[in-house]
């Protein structure tokens, strides 16, 4: 019996050798991130990260053949230098029609459980289908994208290395993209360096950090901006959906469009603040051009409505106030702190850059 198995194995080995094909043996991609980020990561069992998959995903991220007319790639609206945003209020896709919402930053997605401003996609593989196929984005059916790549000289071999056969499909395209996106980890900002004792912030940024982390209590003469209530923790976001008082009657109903629940009106994802100084304009509709405008909103212009976040109700540095009522200097200090969250090694990481350049 043993001899029989040996014969079969040697036959298989000989055949694979003769056919000249390298057997499918992808190497695991080891993710490196601070323990403080936690291990509640979102990687599906059927799409483990491999070096081959991540490399393929990076090429696909910058591959214009994935769009109708080969006009744009994911990287067109997600530029590394802007922490994978595009600086526009709304992006324009292959048909030059603006999208409905501001392009989101792609940072520390490994931990995100539900994607988009309204959290409607419970995984990166599923999320990727929308920008690839939406008419005002890349506008091309996945089957067409797969056919184009199948006919290329470059891709069949790369898909073979990543997935074990040179068959290219929409499923494999989104899987490779998701693998690459999960490697976009930002954890080396000046704030991280400060925590490790490698960088000393100036006094304005330190005052900003204090305000950022403190809930205001005017009756106790405690001043603060309460930012950490939603943007707290090492990743600078909690996966929540809040109405942050932009409008009484929002033009974009946000999560309510998905759920039909009135409490979800005007609710959008709480985004991470890592690299926030690079990702203007701000909010789901890009209405604020600068961090100064954002701070002015929270300080002076919270609009009341039935679905306004309870966290923003009666949260003020003035007794009975409905907005934070920070002084101009306090706002500047908070902005000085937010600049510490810019991670230059992230935006310059050669592993994330356009390989076709």
């Amino acid at each position: 019996m043993k001899k029989c198995w040996w014969l079969i194995w040697s036959g298989v080995l000989a055949l694979s050798f003769l056919s000249g094909r390298v057997s499918y043996a992808p190497q695991p991609y080891v993710l490196e991130y601070p323990a403080s980020f936690g291990h509640r990561i979102n990687t599906p069992a059927d799409n483990p990260l491999t070096k081959e998959g991540v490399y393929l995903g990076r090429l696909l991220f910058y591959e214009k053949q994935l769009s109708a007319g080969n006009k744009i790639s994911c990287g067109t609206c997600h530029e590394q230098q802007r922490a994978f945003t595009d600086g526009k209020t709304f992006s324009t896709g292959v048909d030059d029609v603006p999208t409905d919402r501001n392009a989101m930053s792609l940072v520390n997605l490994l931990w995100v459980r539900n994607f988009f401003w309204d959290g409607r996609a419970p995984g990166l593989e599923l999320q990727a289908i929308t920008p690839l196929t939406a008419p005002h984005e890349m506008g091309q059916p996945l089957e067409v994208a797969a056919q184009k790549l199948q006919q290329s000289t470059l891709y069949p071999g790369l898909f073979n290395a990543a997935f074990g056969s040179d068959q290219i499909s929409g499923d494999r395209i989104t899987k490779a993209l998701a693998q690459f996106e999960r490697t976009l980890i930002s954890a080396d900002s000046r704030y991280d360096q400060y925590l490790e004792g490698r960088y000393q912030p100036d006094s304005a940024a330190l005052r900003g950090l204090q305000l950022f982390s403190t809930a205001p209590a005017p009756e106790k003469k405690i001043r603060g901006a309460n930012c950490t209530h939603c943007h707290g923790g090492p990743k600078f976001y909690i996966e929540l959906y809040h109405n942050n008082g932009l409008d009484s009657l929002p033009r974009d109903a946000g999560r309510e469009k998905q759920t039909g629940v009135a409490a979800d009106r005007g609710r959008f994802r709480v985004p991470t603040l890592r690299n926030i100084a690079l990702t203007a304009p701000y909010m789901h509709d890009g209405r604020f051009n600068s961090l100064e405008e954002v701070l002015d909103h929270y300080s002076e212009h919270i609009v009341s409505s039935a679905s306004l976040s309870p966290v923003l109700r009666q949260t003020s540095n003035e007794a009975g106030g409905n907005s934070l009522r920070l002084t101009k200097r306090e706002q500047k200090d908070i902005i000085a702190f937010l600049h510490l969250l810019t991670d230059s090694s992230f935006i310059n990481n050669p592993n994330f850059s356009n390989p076709f350049n």
Partner: protein
Amino acid sequence: MLYKLAAGLLISAFMATTAFGQTISVEGEVTTPLKLSVADIAKMKKTEVTAADRDGKTHRYSGVPVTDILQQAGVTLGAQLRGENMAKYLLVKSGDGYEVLFSLAELDAAFTDRVVILADQVDGKPLPDGKGPFRIVVPGEKKPARWIWEVTTMTVRFAKD
């Protein structure tokens, strides 16, 4: 087309689970999964507790003991809360995405006199906008971080590790 269909199906499944913001799902390690409407909960026996909220002031909260709901779903409480069931927890989710956890023993009357309730009233009035219709109230807890508001789901699970 298949991918679009798959995406559509997944997204509709997601919508179906969140569309009933005004009901509470009780699921996981239960013998009878529940979808409780406001009317269902109104029919249950009410309890009143007194507790201090984040404002530091003491309020009267009225609602249903969480264990009454779990018992209705057939969760292992009381005499059954022993052995491997000691590794079970309750995860409570809010419509805004927030989540908090209780071990079953923290809730069970055989272990504690503290009654954690699913409140629908404060000081005789419905909960204010943004916090209702149901909010967990944990009497005696110094920080109200587990007083999760807009409760939508209660899931019982075994701890994995």
